[in-house]
């Protein structure tokens, strides 16, 4: 609670207490009026002042004016009719102020909540000088400075580790709870929390250019890009208030005149003016105007906590209408690194075969031999390998532990006149022959990401009608991956420009309301990212081009996050529509009831404040996205 809110709370309590006390005081006439004026002014003096200032500045139709007219009118009516019922006017003002107070409190709370969620801003950097650590403002650290990050501290600036090993907690950035191990030579990004060991880092960027600054900048500015729903509400609010005021005037004048002239009845001015004043109470568009941006703000905040950065409310809105998702293959659905995918027809233990292959290929720096060594997983003892003979374009022959080992493709086997079993799997096949006898083959291919299949399925369950995969890869490989993952359509052997063309084709053939999202890893696909209705870059931390070009940035490279992002947006937009329908619906219903004489001012103010409180509480729901 800030100072303003505390003062307001005191005023609310004081006015309520006075009102209750006066209820038991048997005063009548002008004394009664004077006594009741006290709580009225305590609770409403600022509204009256604001209304006067509004009139002076020719800004008549604001809620202060409406509340002032409605309550002053109700008091005047009570005075004129001699009923002495001033409670209603004061209660209306009281509830109005309670509503305003609650709104201010709720908005302040959610502002704080969301900034806590994004609490990744580092306060200082440790620089070592003359053997002593000094804390400096991260802004002042130049590129190439060595900074020290102690366990428990945030990495303030992007850089490379020059000393030490540790695990980093990246949860605040990626939503991923598994810690990441780093050692000398690893690039690390700012915003992670160092968990175990002391790290010395040579900075590679300035603070302002570092990941953490970029992310904060992006999230803070996100809700400034307004969605269509927000624009609609602003327009609606602009028409709504004057329209209700106009109707109130009509309601006050027309029915009595009709009664008087048309039906020969008494005009009954009091009743109709009372109804008109009640109209004014219900005319404040606050519930709508506050709850829509609050929903988006909470949605964007919740999403960023889950590692999904959305660049604007408008993108959250588009994302929720996504019906077609187009993927880039390499780096998005597959890992983009070659790895041993299988060992077939081996005469010996698979591990043994891999060991021979890794040793035979140990002299090569080709990605294939690297992946073999990785699959073998142990230290390579070079002394076991002799007579390495590389046969260009075919493979390698070498002596391992005294055995003649040949590792290579079909051509090598043909060359050695060794019969081999062709492989049906897709990828690079390495046939192995040991001492002139066929020993099986090893399949090396680009691995599909662990969650890729699940991700496609989840997307389908979340209402995405069509999934498409684009790749520059060979048709056979692409078709295989697509089948494995269950992607609907594949276009293979595309050049980067071809990807843009395909996306444009898809954009043309789809219905207007179904939006197309393109998901890429940000390498070479910036043009496609910006061409699609919504561009999603994944695993984009540190890649500036992708963060620039994309509308939604997934902090880690888990494809499951795509469906999560869509679900978050659906939930948020669902809440937005609920609030629009709910708030407008209740207001209109209330206005009709008032006009027909079924509702009094009490109901009008309850409808007004109640709707607002419910809409605000509903909006805050958008913040909770963990279980989506």
């Amino acid at each position: 609670m800030n100072k303003k809110q505390r003062t307001m709370l005191v005023r609310i309590l004081a006015a309520a207490a006075l009102l209750i006390a006066l209820h038991f005081l048997p005063a009548t006439g002008w004394l009664r009026f004077g006594l009741y004026l006290v709580p009225y002014l305590v609770i409403g003096y600022d509204i009256l002042l604001k209304a006067l200032k509004g009139i002076k500045n020719r800004q008549v139709f604001d809620e202060n004016f409406l509340m002032a007219v409605a309550t002053v009118g109700a008091i005047a009516l009570a005075l004129y009719e001699g009923s002495g019922d001033y409670t209603e006017a004061i209660a209306v003002m009281l509830f109005y102020q309670i509503g305003e107070w609650f709104q201010s409190y709720a908005v302040g709370r959610s502002r704080r909540n969301i900034s806590e969620l994004m609490d990744i801003r580092p306060d200082y950097a440790n620089v070592e000088a003359d053997g002593k650590l000094t804390q400096v403002d991260p802004d002042e650290v130049e590129i190439g400075t060595v900074i020290v990050v102690q366990p428990g501290e945030k990495v303030p600036i992007d850089g490379t580790v020059v000393e030490g090993t540790s695990s980093l907690n990246t949860a605040a950035l990626t939503g991923e709870s598994l810690p990441r191990d780093v050692g000398v030579g690893d690039e690390i990004i700012s915003g992670c929390i160092n968990m175990t060991g002391l790290l010395k880092i040579r900075t590679t960027r300035e603070f302002g250019e570092s990941t953490v600054s970029k992310i904060l900048d992006l999230v803070e500015n996100a809700s400034s890009r307004k969605s269509r729903s927000e624009a609609f509400i602003s327009r609606f609010a602009r028409i709504y208030t004057p329209a209700v005021c106009g109707s109130a005037v009509v309601l006050a004048i027309l029915p009595p005149l009709v009664r008087l002239a048309g039906m020969g009845l008494s005009p009954d001015w009091g009743t109709w003016i009372y109804r008109a004043l009640t109209f004014l109470v219900a005319s404040c568009p606050c519930a709508l105007v506050i709850s829509i941006p609050l929903s988006f703000f909470a949605g964007i905040g919740g999403a960023s906590n889950a590692g999904v950065l959305v660049k604007g409310s408008n993108y959250l809105e588009t994302l929720s209408q996504t019906k077609i998702v187009v993927f880039d293959k390499t780096g998005t659905l597959t890992q983009g690194v070659f790895a041993v995918n299988g060992v077939h027809h081996s005469e010996m233990e698979n591990e043994k075969l891999l060991e021979y292959a890794a040793l035979a290929e140990s002299a090569s720096s080709h990605p294939i031999s690297k992946s073999l060594q990785k699959a073998y997983g142990k230290e390579i003892d070079r002394s076991r390998v002799t007579d390495i003979q590389e046969i260009s374009g075919s493979g390698v022959m070498a002596k391992v532990d005294g055995h003649e080992v040949a590792a290579g493709n079909d051509k090598l086997m043909d060359h050695l006149h060794i019969p081999y079993i062709p492989c049906r799997s897709v990828g690079t096949i390495i046939h192995m022959a040991i001492d002139g006898k066929y020993a099986g083959h090893i399949v090396i291919s680009d691995l599909v990401k662990p969650h890729a299949k699940e991700a496609i399925e989840t997307l389908r369950r979340s209402g995405v009608a069509q999934t498409v995969m684009l790749t520059g890869d060979a048709k056979k490989v692409a078709d295989h991956v697509a089948e494995e993952l269950g992607v609907d359509q594949v276009y293979s052997e595309l050049l980067p420009a071809g990807k843009v063309e395909k996306v444009e084709e898809l954009l043309k053939s789809k219905p207007e309301r179904a939006k197309l999202a393109f998901v890429g890893d940000g390498i070479n696909d910036a043009p496609v990212l910006s061409r699609a209705d919504i561009g999603i870059a994944m695993g984009a931390m540190g890649s500036d081009a992708a963060i620039e070009a994309a509308d939604v940035v997934l902090m880690d490279d888990d494809p499951l996050k795509i469906a999560k992002a869509i679900r978050i947006s659906r939930k948020c937009l669902g809440i937005v529509y609920q609030n629009i329908v709910f708030a407008i619906g209740i207001k209109l219903a209330c206005l009709v009831l008032v006009a027909l004489g079924f509702a009094n001012m009490w109901l009008a103010i309850f409808a007004d404040v109640g709707v607002m409180i419910l809409a605000v509480l509903n909006a805050i729901r958008a913040l909770f996205v963990k279980k989506l």
């Binding site: 400034s224 602003s234 606050c286 941006p293």
Partner: protein
């Protein structure tokens, strides 16, 4: 040129009014008010001095909503 200013305002509708007032100010190409982050982002027209324009923006905002502040 775009600049961001901190603002203070109590209700969302008032923020909308401030946005409208800022947009109508001479020398402002576009203005957005973000009620949730309490920021005003103003894009200035060529050849206008942001400082004088912002004085006018502030005055106009005060006119539509008395209880607001733009921190220059």
């Amino acid at each position: 040129m775009k600049k961001t200013y901190k603002i203070d305002v109590d209700c969302a509708n008032c923020a909308n009014k401030m946005e409208e007032a800022a947009q109508k100010t001479e020398g402002v190409k576009n203005a957005t008010v973000n009620f949730m982050t309490l920021k005003m982002i103003v894009e200035f027209m060529e050849g206008h001095d942001p400082k004088t324009v912002m004085e006018a923006v502030r005055a106009n905002c005060k006119k539509v909503e008395d209880d607001c502040e733009v921190y220059l």
